[in-house]
C-alpha cells in the first residue's frame, strides 16, 4: 500500500503540512539568527584580503574539502571522516528533498533507482562510521583528544552527542525507507541499514508500519533542524564553515602576514597599536578559523612545544578563542567588549612557546593558520613592551650592532680568515653573495659551517663573496618574535648592502636566512640554500665525493623546519647524502613535512621556555630509535640545539651531528683554490 505523504498526514490533529512548515520556518529562522550573531565579531575584525585568485582557491576546495586530502595522514580517524563526509554529500540532496516532502504532497524527490541504491548505502556507511567513531572515543580514547595537562577534563560527551545525532538522523532515514518498503513489499539494497530494518519490520502490521513511517519522518525533520541550530555552538560548526575556511585559506603560506593589511611598512609608525591585543584585532579569517576547528587534535599531536610540555597547545589556542568569541558575542544578549587577550585568555608563556616550526599548519585538515596568529599576538606584546627579559638584550644588541650577541661589526667576517673576498660591487667576476648571517659569523662552533660552506662553494665553481662588516642580521626571527619595526630596519639595511654588492645570486647555509631573504625581503636576486647548490653540482658532475671512511656509521637526515616544511626542500639534501659512496641512511619516523623541531632558531636560542624536556633531546632520541648514530642537518640552529641535546641526553659518543655542508666539504674530491676553508669541520 502507498502511504499518504507526511504533508497530507495528521500529527495529533495538526495537519502535517502545517507542522512541517512551522518546523521549517522556526528552524531556518533560528539558524539564520545564530549565524548572524556568529558573523558579528567578523564584522568588527581586522581586514584580510582573501577574495583574489578564485581558481587557486577553488583548487584548494577541490583538494582539501571535497577530496579531504589531509585526512588519510591519520589513517583510522581520516578514513572514518572520509566515509562520513562522502555520505553527507550523497545524502544532502535527499535531506533537502525530505524537507519539501513535508510540506508538499505532490513533490516527487529527485533521483532515481541508482541514487536510491547509492543513498541507502551512504546512510549505512555513515551510520557505521559514526558508531565506530563513537566507540573509538569511548573505548580507545586516543590521547590527542585529551586536553593539555592542567586545562580541566576532556569533554568526550560533546563529540559523542554529535555522533549520536548523526546516527539518529541516519536511523530516521532508514526508518522512513524501510517502513515504506515493508508496506509496499518493495525490496531494498541488500545489507543496507534500511534493508536490515525492513527485515526486522517484516511481521509488523500495516498501521504500525504507517506509524513508523510518519514517526520516522518527524524524527528526521526534528533531528535535522536541531543539528542545524546546534552546530554553531561547538566543534560541529565546521560542517558549515569548513568550505569557507578552505576557500579563504592563506594561499602564500611562505609569507608572513603583514602587521596590518593595507598599511605599507613605512606607515606602521602612524598606527596607534600593533598586533593582536584584543579579540577584535584578529582578522575575520582568523576568527573563521576559530569557528572551523573540529578539535581533532592533530595540530597539538604534531606540535613539538606541546610534546615537551610547554604551555602551548595549538588546538587550545584555537578552541579557547572560539569559546571566548561565543562568550563575548552570545546568541542572546549584547556583545561585550573584550579584555586584553594576553595574560587572560592566553598566558605570555604560551605565546612565547611557539617555535613557528609550522607542524600544526602542515597537519590541519582545514588549513587553519597558526603562525600568523602567534606572531600577531607577539607583535601586540612587543608593542605593549612586554618582552621576556632574556630576549631584551639580544634584541637591543640587534638594534645597536646588527647581531644578537652584541659583537663588533668589524669582527663579522673573522670566521673567514680573510680568505673569502668581501664584495665591493666593483668586481663582476663574483656574481654570487654568500649571506652568512649572525650565528655563522660569530658562534665559535658554527663558524666551521661558514668555512665549510665557502669551501664547498669553491669546489662547486661558484664565484662568490661575502658582505663582511656590511652584513647585518637577516632579522628572520626578529620578525617572528614580533619585533616588526626592528626587522624592517634590518631588512632595509641588508637590502641596500646587497644591492650595492651588485650580485646576481644569493646563497646561504642558514635556512632561517634563506626563508627570510626569499620571502620576507623583496627585490633581491634569487636565493638558494647550499643544499640546492651542492645537489646541482653533484648532478652536473662538478663535484664528486670520496667514499666515507667509516662504513659502520648510520646516518639520518633531520629536516630543518625552515628548509623542509616552510620551503619544501626535502629531496636535495637527501640526494647529496645518497651521492656519497658508502652512505648508509635511515629515516626517522618523523621526517620530511612531519619533521620534529629541534627547539627553534634565532632568538629562540636566547629564550628558555618552561618545558619538561628539551625538544632537541626528544629529537636525538628519535634518531637513536631509527638506528642512526650520525644526524645530518642543514641549519646552524639545529646544530646548536642538537649538539646541546646530545650532551643533555648523555649520548656523547653514541650520537653525533654534522651539517650537510660540513659533510660535503669533508667528503668532496678537492680541486679548487680554497683548500684551507674546507678543513673547518670539527
Amino acid at each position: 500500500m502507498e502511504y499518504p505523504s507526511p504533508a497530507a498526514a495528521n500529527y495529533w490533529g495538526i495537519p502535517g503540512r502545517t507542522l512541517f512548515a512551522l518546523l521549517c520556518l522556526l528552524g531556518t529562522f533560528c539558524f539564520c539568527w545564530i549565524i548572524a550573531r556568529r558573523l558579528k565579531p567578523l564584522a568588527r575584525a581586522q581586514d584580510d584580503p582573501r577574495f583574489d585568485r578564485p581558481l587557486a582557491r577553488l583548487r584548494n576546495v577541490l583538494q582539501y574539502w571535497l577530496l579531504q586530502w589531509r585526512h588519510p595522514r591519520y589513517p583510522l580517524a581520516g578514513t572514518l571522516h572520509l566515509f562520513i563526509f562522502a555520505g553527507f554529500l550523497v545524502l544532502a540532496v535527499r535531506a533537502f528533498a525530505m524537507l519539501i516532502v513535508g510540506v508538499s504532497a505532490t513533490f516527487v524527490p529527485p533521483g532515481g533507482p541508482a541514487y536510491d541504491v547509492l543513498r541507502a548505502y551512504a546512510a549505512t556507511v555513515v551510520f557505521a562510521a559514526v558508531t565506530a567513531a563513537a566507540l573509538r572515543r569511548l573505548i580507545a580514547k586516543p590521547a590527542r583528544y585529551q586536553p593539555p595537562a592542567g586545562s580541566g577534563k576532556g569533554r568526550p560527551a560533546d563529540a559523542i552527542f554529535l555522533l549520536g545525532l548523526i546516527g539518529i538522523l541516519m536511523l530516521a532515514d532508514g526508518l522512513i525507507e524501510s517502513s515504506a518498503a515493508a508496506g509496499q513489499a518493495r525490496s531494498l539494497p541488500a545489507l543496507s541499514l534500511a534493508w536490515l530494518l525492513q527485515q526486522a519490520f517484516a511481521s509488523l502490521s500495516s498501521p504500525t508500519l504507517r506509524g513508523l513511517y510518519l514517526g520516522g519522518y518527524l524524527l528526521h525533520a526534528l533531528t535535522f533542524f536541531f543539528l542545524l541550530c546546534y552546530r554553531p555552538f561547538g566543534i560541529q560548526f565546521h560542517v558549515e564553515t569548513s568550505l569557507f575556511t578552505i576557500y579563504f585559506a592563506k594561499l602564500d603560506r611562505e609569507l608572513l602576514k603583514p602587521v596590518r593589511w593595507g598599511v605599507p611598512a613605512e606607515n606602521l609608525d602612524r598606527l596607534k597599536s600593533l598586533g593582536v591585543k584584543s579579540f577584535e584585532d584578529f582578522t575575520w579569517k582568523h576568527m573563521l578559523d576559530f569557528y572551523s576547528c573540529a578539535d581533532c587534535g592533530r595540530c597539538s599531536d604534531q606540535c613539538p612545544a606541546y610534546a615537551v610540555g610547554r604551555a602551548l597547545s595549538p588546538r587550545f589556542l584555537t578552541t579557547k578563542a572560539r569559546d571566548y568569541s561565543f562568550r563575548h558575542y552570545p546568541v542572546l544578549g549584547s556583545a561585550a567588549n573584550g579584555t586584553p587577550l594576553a595574560g587572560n585568555l592566553y598566558s605570555e608563556e604560551e605565546i612565547w612557546s611557539c617555535t613557528t616550526c609550522g607542524a600544526c599548519e602542515r597537519e590541519c585538515p582545514l588549513l587553519i593558520e597558526y603562525i600568523d596568529k602567534i606572531v600577531d599576538l607577539r607583535r601586540g606584546l612587543v608593542d605593549d613592551r612586554r618582552v621576556p627579559q632574556p630576549l631584551q638584550k639580544p634584541l637591543k644588541a640587534l638594534e645597536v650592532r646588527g647581531n644578537p650577541y652584541g659583537k663588533p661589526e668589524r669582527k663579522r667576517a673573522d670566521w673567514a680568515n680573510a680568505e673569502v673576498p668581501v664584495l665591493n660591487g666593483a668586481d663582476a667576476h663574483q656574481d654570487t653573495l654568500y649571506f652568512v648571517d649572525s650565528i655563522t659569523s660569530y658562534d665559535d662552533r658554527i663558524q666551521a659551517i661558514g668555512r665549510a660552506t665557502a669551501g664547498i662553494l669553491s669546489e662547486a665553481g661558484v664565484h662568490f663573496g661575502i658582505l663582511g662588516a656590511a652584513e647585518s642580521d637577516s632579522g628572520h626571527d626578529v620578525r617572528r618574535f614580533g619585533e616588526e619595526t626592528l626587522f624592517l630596519a634590518l631588512r632595509d639595511y641588508n637590502t641596500q648592502a646587497i644591492r650595492r654588492a651588485g650580485v646576481r645570486h644569493i646563497v646561504t647555509s642558514d635556512p632561517h636566512a634563506y626563508n627570510g631573504l626569499k620571502h620576507d625581503y623583496t627585490g633581491l636576486p634569487p636565493v638558494e640554500h647550499t643544499s640546492q647548490v651542492i645537489a646541482r653540482a653533484v648532478r652536473t658532475g662538478t663535484i664528486r665525493f670520496d667514499p666515507l671512511a667509516n662504513r659502520n656509521d648510520v646516518y639520518t637526515y633531520h629536516d630543518p623546519c625552515y628548509l623542509g616544511r616552510h620551503n619544501q626542500i626535502f629531496d636535495d639534501p637527501r640526494y647529496v647524502l645518497d651521492a656519497i659512496p658508502g652512505m648508509k641512511r635511515v629515516e626517522m619516523s618523523r621526517c620530511r613535512d612531519r619533521s620534529f623541531c629541534c627547539g627553534g632558531g634565532g632568538l629562540a636560542l636566547f629564550h628558555e621556555v618552561k618545558e619538561d624536556e628539551r625538544m632537541g633531546v626528544r629529537r636525538v632520541r628519535m634518531a637513536a630509535e631509527a638506528g642512526a648514530n650520525v644526524m645530518v642537518t642543514a641549519c646552524p640552529f639545529c646544530m646548536v640545539n642538537l649538539e646541546d641535546a646530545i650532551k643533555v641526553a648523555g649520548m656523547e659518543g653514541q650520537m653525533a651531528v654534522i651539517d650537510l655542508v660540513e659533510l660535503a666539504a669533508q667528503q668532496v674530491v678537492r680541486q679548487a683554490v680554497l683548500p684551507a676553508l674546507g678543513k673547518g669541520v670539527n
Partner: protein, 262 residues
C-alpha cells in the same frame, strides 16, 4: 607622586669588547656602544610601576654631554613622562660629588616626592645617590629591592643584606633610594617606541639655567681622580671530571667555599 630618576650613559658591557687604552688609565672608547646604565632601567621601571598605581609623573634626568639626550629619550620610550639633560662645558670631568651637586641644583628648582637612582653605574662607584641625599638633607636607602607606598607620606622598602637576608624599613618622603637590579623586570624598549618619542624635545639645562655656582663641579673641582685602570689576571677555569654525582658534589663544595649558597 612625582618621581625623579637619575640615569646616565655607560659603555654597554654586553655589546662591547672592552680593551684598555694605550695610556692604561681608561678603556679604549673609539669603538664602543653606549647605553643607559642597566640599574637605572630598573629605577625607571620601579618609578613607572608606582605612578601607574598612584598617579603622578616620572622625570628622567641625566648629567652628560650635549648629545646625551638619548638617555632620557630612551627612558621616555619606556614610559617616563619627562626627560631633562643637564649639560654644560663646566660639568665635564666631575667626580661623584660634582654630579651630586649638579643634580641637587636641579632638584631644588623643582618638586619631587621621590628620587631614585640605579644601585650603581656599571663603571661607577655607587656614590651619587647617597651624596645627593646628604646634600638635600633627605633620608636615603641604598640597594632597595622592594618598594611599597604607605599612607602618610611614607614608604616601606626592602633591602637585601649580605647572605640573602632581607630587612624592611620605613622611610619618610621625600627621600632618595638607590634601586637594586632584580627589583622588577624592566619593560622592553623597542625601535618603534624610540621612534615615537624621537621628536619630543628634551629640555637641556646648563649651569646658568640651574643657577649653579660651577666652582664645586667639573674636572678642576674633582677630588677623586682615576690614576690607573687594568684587567686583573683571570682566576682560571677548571673542568670538573668524574661521574655526574661526583661532579655535582665537587661543584657544590666549590660554590659553598665561595659562600655562594647559604
Amino acid at each position: 607622586m612625582d618621581i625623579l630618576v637619575c640615569a646616565r650613559k655607560v659603555p654597554d658591557t654586553a655589546e662591547n669588547e672592552i680593551a684598555l687604552n694605550r695610556a692604561g688609565n681608561d678603556i679604549e672608547r673609539d669603538d664602543l656602544v653606549y647605553t643607559v646604565n642597566e640599574a637605572d632601567n630598573y629605577a625607571v621601571e620601579a618609578a613607572l610601576q608606582i605612578t601607574e598605581k598612584f598617579a603622578g609623573s616620572v622625570t628622567v634626568v641625566t648629567v652628560g654631554g650635549d648629545n646625551d639626550d638619548d638617555v632620557p629619550r630612551r627612558e621616555m620610550a619606556m614610559g617616563a613622562h619627562h626627560g631633562v639633560l643637564l649639560a654644560d662645558e663646566s660639568f665635564n670631568g666631575s667626580d661623584g660629588r660634582g654630579i651630586a651637586t649638579i643634580l641637587k641644583a636641579y632638584v631644588q628648582r623643582n618638586h619631587f616626592d621621590l628620587i631614585l637612582t640605579g644601585a650603581q653605574g656599571e663603571d661607577g662607584a655607587a656614590q651619587v645617590g647617597g651624596m645627593l641625599a646628604a646634600m638635600l638633607d633627605y633620608p636615603f636607602a641604598s640597594l632597595v629591592s622592594s618598594i611599597e607606598v604607605l599612607d602618610g607620606g611614607k614608604l616601606r622598602i626592602g633591602r637585601e643584606i649580605e647572605g640573602g637576608n632581607r630587612e624592611m624599613n620605613e622611610i619618610d618622603l621625600p627621600c632618595v633610594l638607590s634601586i637594586q637590579t632584580g627589583i622588577n623586570e624592566p619593560r622592553y624598549v623597542g625601535m618603534r617606541g624610540i621612534r615615537q618619542v624621537a621628536s619630543i624635545p628634551i629640555a637641556v639645562l646648563d649651569a646658568s639655567d640651574l643657577g649653579l655656582d660651577t666652582a664645586p663641579v667639573g674636572a678642576v673641582a674633582a677630588r677623586v681622580i682615576r690614576t690607573d685602570y687594568f684587567v686583573p689576571p683571570a682566576g682560571g677555569a677548571r673542568v670538573l671530571a668524574g661521574s655526574r654525582p661526583e661532579i655535582a658534589e665537587e661543584l657544590l663544595e666549590i660554590v659553598m667555599s665561595k659562600r655562594g649558597l647559604s
